[in-house]
């Protein structure tokens, strides 16, 4: 339970942080809220030479409006996001998902961007961010670049963020007026999702006009259930009407098998939970 020895730096600006990353390369790990990194260090699953603490960088704090999107800085904790009126109004799906993250203590420390970069497929943030077509703002030695969420998640614990780069914000297009629900399947409330379904729908006159569905822990990265989304369009927002569209959500996925459930079990449960999530999102 005692981490290996490491150096520690707490830069005050993004450029200082980037300089440190450039200097230390793969010896460096970035610390934001520390809710994943600290356990990893304590269990000695990783032994970085230096930990770069970005929690004191003012310029990446805060949640702001950015045109048609809401911009969540890398310093924002889950609780900051939950408390944000912008998020409640425009990003109902993210709000719903974050209420299911771990427990209050962790939500007050951990950060949304930290969870995205950590890219644990069982984490609750990836699926809604992916479903809502977010854009990742990444800064590196060559300046700032933007990566679509669909290109961001590469593999288990691996993202498009390079060794010398920093995810400084996530920009999520507003989904004002969309219904949303995050259905988390878990044995103990504060645990990792066995699977999770993030669903947002826009209902017009009792019919689903648009749907967005993201999947947690149904593969090595968060997934987008595009075929379900398409099948839902034009359906009545009732349980019976959406059931068929949702049943095949597991098709083409490669979920893990572990003590909580085999892959085929996860595929089956995913269908049931997707139906529930979509119905709940549609206000059913």
């Amino acid at each position: 339970m005692i981490p290996p020895e490491f150096d520690y730096a707490a830069p005050g600006t993004v450029s200082e942080a980037l300089a440190l990353l450039a200097e230390h390369g793969d010896e460096a790990k970035v610390l934001a809220g520390g809710q994943s990194l600290l356990p990893v260090l304590r269990m000695r699953l990783n032994a970085p030479g230096i930990v770069i603490d970005i929690s004191r960088i003012e310029e990446i704090k805060g949640i702001t409006e950015s045109g048609d999107a809401v911009r969540i800085g890398a310093g924002a904790t889950y609780q900051d996001v939950l408390d944000s009126a912008l998020v409640s109004e425009h990003l109902g799906l993210l709000h719903k998902a974050l209420t299911e993250v771990a427990d209050a203590q962790i939500r007050h420390r951990g950060t949304v961007c930290g969870a995205l970069v950590h890219a644990d497929p069982a984490g609750d943030v990836g699926a809604p961010v992916l479903a809502l077509d977010a854009r990742m703002v990444i800064q590196g030695p060559d300046g700032e670049r933007t990566v679509d969420a669909s290109d961001f998640f590469v593999d288990l614990f691996e993202t498009a963020v390079g060794e010398d780069e920093l995810l400084t914000a996530v920009e999520i297009p507003k989904h004002t007026g969309w219904g949303a629900h995050y259905e988390k399947f878990v044995r103990v409330s504060h645990q990792w999702a066995i699977i999770g379904i993030a669903a947002a729908v826009r209902v017009e006159g009792g019919t689903i006009a648009e749907a967005k569905v993201g999947l947690t822990n149904m593969g090595s990265t968060p997934l987008r259930a595009t075929s379900v989304e398409q099948a839902l369009v034009g359906k009545e927002a009732t349980e019976d009407a959406v059931a068929e569209a949702c049943a095949q959500v597991g098709e083409g996925t490669d979920p893990p098998s572990d003590l909580n459930g085999q892959a085929d079990y996860r595929k089956h449960v995913a269908g049931v939970l997707t139906r529930r999530a979509v119905v709940a999102a549609a206000g059913g």
Partner: protein, 718 residues
């Protein structure tokens, strides 16, 4: 003159420490017997109902299974005096987790597997079980007496009048959760019913029929219970319990597994039957500290002198044993007040019964009373130590009897000085980064009961003295301290005396409970030593032996005896996560004469650690539908770990109490835990301005309190 005259001279490491740390002290389960069998109990999965059938065919068919015990084939026993022990008698269930069957096999694995195959069918009663705590339930009843000795309703003077016209008045509702003891060593036992004794042996009063190696707080309890149930004389039941890996009250009285294991042994004579409960089984059927809901109102005059103490307690009780902790006990005796009211209400539920848990009643009641005293001090703008000093009673307020000794004032003032108690006029002003800092104080008390006399025997053999009695060392240091007391009384060096305890093959002694061991047993040891010298002189012959019993001073019933103390806490509260860290705890105690400063310190530090753990972490969640504890293991029920316990220190007055018998010692096993949660909660108020009235003080409770009280007292720096 031995060096025991000074406290420093009485400092001695525990004689059993080398055995304990090297793993050589045999615990009950570790007694090696030839060809043992292993018992695994099957617990009910419903809270109430009739058993309509038990299908044990599959279990019996497993190779290696020697016996499947159910109500259908269990030996018929005399009805035990403890109702929980009436197991496997009738096809009915009284609480979730009651033992409904047991499997005995030649390996633990086989027994466990076969137990999983036992199928029990139940018929649920028409209405579901009553397992939900509800103070407004129509079945809630006032209690006339609590634990048989405390008044359930007690009123002196016009409490309501004083509260209405008071210069200062506070009132709060407090809640404490279910706690489980969780000693490291589980409840365990080996039972051997002796075979081939011959027909004469059965009528010989001293021939042992049943031997049990058990983990308990005193061999006399299982001996009496088993003898009564199996129709034996107590002398025919041998109980051996030399080392006990913690108890805290849960091993004071036998639990159902003791009965069931003895039944299995009865049916399998000549074979040792072993059982060790798993942690979830311990949560189900070995007692707990019941939850409480309390209301405390205090009234005070302009000078801070109390005019009224009003303490209401609501508690759930089991229908099997209506166990209620004497939670309002502290309000009867702690402070002077012209008016006083104590009342208890209870709700009967289909749950397993609670039992003694370290300072039963005092722990929960003092949390409410000492938090309310802090609220009053804040209300008045008075120093919390000063407020307590102004309400020191000259005699016991409840009985009017004089104190045998009472050094609360010294504990408060000396403790505050040593600790450096400094509270803020305005909470929330001290911070280190995100951490808000504060300090708090609370008093402690624990009654010194008379549990009846014990016997001790001193024998001179091989040039050494042996003191033997049925006493039990549950981790307290009795092995060490009883030998020390004997050495002092015999006036010989400590290493010339050894103790022999934890067996029925020794003179009768009371169980280790109610913080009575050291002074109760110790008095018998002193009496035996003095009688030994009078009888055998200073140069005794080999084998010289003398026995004597506890003797308390004439007139002891005319005084009130209590141990006291004061706790001081320094906490840091994170305004980010709501986490509470206890940075320092200091306790100053009135424990009479300290017999061994090292074991005494360990006892008090242990009690305070348990209080810290209860203040911050420990809570058993009872499922309101099914009645079982949901977090029934040490992953779900967090007990303070090293990282949670930073700096705990203790001091004491050290003044012998003339009314405690020959030792002059007060019991200190329980007073250390009393008041700790209040001191920590009061420190949280000093740090943050948040008044938390429900244990434990988890991050969520802190954050919720903050949310409902507006923004943090100081600007957020993040």
């Amino acid at each position: 003159m031995s060096d025991a005259a000074t406290e420093q001279g009485r400092d001695r490491a525990r004689v059993d420490a080398p055995l304990k740390v090297s793993g050589l002290a045999p615990y009950a389960y570790e007694h090696e017997l030839e060809d043992p069998l292993f018992l695994v109990p099957v617990l009910s999965t419903v809270a109430t109902g009739a058993i309509t059938g038990i299908d044990a065919e599959a279990a019996r068919a497993v190779p290696g299974v020697a016996l499947v015990l159910t109500h259908e084939n269990a030996p018929r026993l005399a009805l035990p005096t403890i109702p929980t022990l009436a197991v496997l008698r009738k096809p009915r269930v009284r609480y979730r987790g009651e033992i409904v069957a047991a499997v005995v096999a030649d390996s633990l694995e086989t027994a466990r597997y076969a137990a999983s195959l036992v199928r029990v069918d139940y018929a649920a009663p028409p209405s579901g079980p009553d397992v939900r705590l509800d103070p407004e339930d129509p079945g809630v009843r006032p209690l006339r007496r609590v634990m048989g000795v405390y008044p359930g309703q007690h009123t002196v003077g016009d409490v309501d009048g004083e509260l209405a016209g008071a210069a200062y008045r506070v009132e709060g509702h407090y809640a404490t959760p279910v706690n489980h003891h969780n000693p490291i060593e589980p409840h365990s036992m080996v039972a051997l019913w002796h075979a081939d004794l011959g027909p004469l042996a059965t009528v010989q009063p001293r021939s042992t029929r049943l031997t049990v190696w058990d983990s308990n707080q005193g061999v006399v309890a299982p001996q009496g219970v088993l003898a009564g149930a199996f129709g034996l004389l107590p002398t025919q039941v041998e109980v051996i319990s030399p080392y006990v890996g913690g108890s805290f009250g849960t091993k004071g009285m036998p639990h159902p597994h003791v009965m069931v294991t003895a039944m299995a042994a009865r049916k399998l004579p000549g074979r040792a039957v072993k059982v060790a409960l798993t942690r979830p089984q311990m949560f189900a059927g070995t007692g707990y500290r019941p939850e409480t809901r309390q209301r405390v109102a205090l009234a005070a005059d302009e000078q801070g002198r109390l005019r009224a103490v009003d303490h209401e307690v609501f508690a759930p009780v089991s229908r099997v044993i209506p166990w209620v902790d004497p939670t309002a006990g502290p309000s009867l005796s702690m402070y002077a007040s012209p008016t006083r009211r104590v009342s208890y209400r209870a709700q009967h539920l289909d749950i397993g019964p609670g039992t003694f848990m370290r300072a039963p009643g005092e722990y929960t009641g003092m949390f409410a009373l000492e938090t309310a005293m802090d609220e009053l001090a804040r209300e008045m703008g008075m120093d919390p130590v000063e407020l307590r000093l102004r309400n020191e009673p000259e005699a016991d307020p409840e009985s009017g009897r004089p104190w045998s000794s009472r050094h609360v004032a010294t504990c408060l003032t000396e403790g505050a000085r040593i600790f450096g108690l400094e509270q803020q006029q305005q909470p929330g002003g001290r911070r280190e980064g995100e951490w808000l800092l504060g300090m708090g104080v609370a008093s402690a008390s624990f009654p010194q009961m008379g549990m009846g006399p014990s016997l001790a025997r001193i024998t001179f053999t091989g040039g050494r003295y042996v003191v033997s009695m049925q006493a039990s060392d549950i981790g307290t240091g009795a092995w060490t301290v009883l030998a020390q007391i004997a050495a002092q009384a015999l006036d010989v060096p400590q290493d010339q005396v050894e103790a022999r305890i934890g067996t029925t093959d020794a003179p009768y002694a009371i169980i280790a409970g109610g913080s009575t061991g050291t002074f109760g047993w110790g008095s018998a040891v002193v009496e035996a030593a003095q009688a030994f010298r009078a009888e055998h002189g200073s140069d005794p012959a080999e084998g010289a032996t003398t026995r004597a019993r506890t003797r308390m001073p004439q007139g002891v019933r005319g005084v009130r005896r209590m141990a006291f103390g004061a706790h001081f806490a320094e906490v840091a509260v994170s305004e980010v996560s709501g986490e509470v860290r206890v940075r320092r705890l200091y306790g100053h105690f009135d424990g009479g004469r300290i017999m061994n400063p090292r074991t005494a310190r360990s006892q008090l530090v242990g009690g305070m650690t348990m209080g810290l753990s209860g203040a911050l972490f420990e809570e058993s969640y009872r499922d309101p539908r099914f009645g079982h504890v949901v977090n029934a293991d040490l992953a779900g029920y967090h007990v303070a770990a090293h990282a949670d316990v930073v700096d705990i220190e203790v001091g004491w007055v050290g003044e012998p109490d003339p009314w405690m018998g020959a030792t002059g010692a007060k019991g200190i096993g329980e007073v250390g835990i009393v008041g700790v949660p209040a001191a920590i909660g009061n420190a949280i108020f000093d740090a943050t301005g948040l008044r938390l009235r429900e244990l434990p003080f988890t991050p969520v409770k802190v954050l919720e309190a903050w949310e409902s009280s507006g923004p943090a007292p100081a600007a957020t720096v993040r």
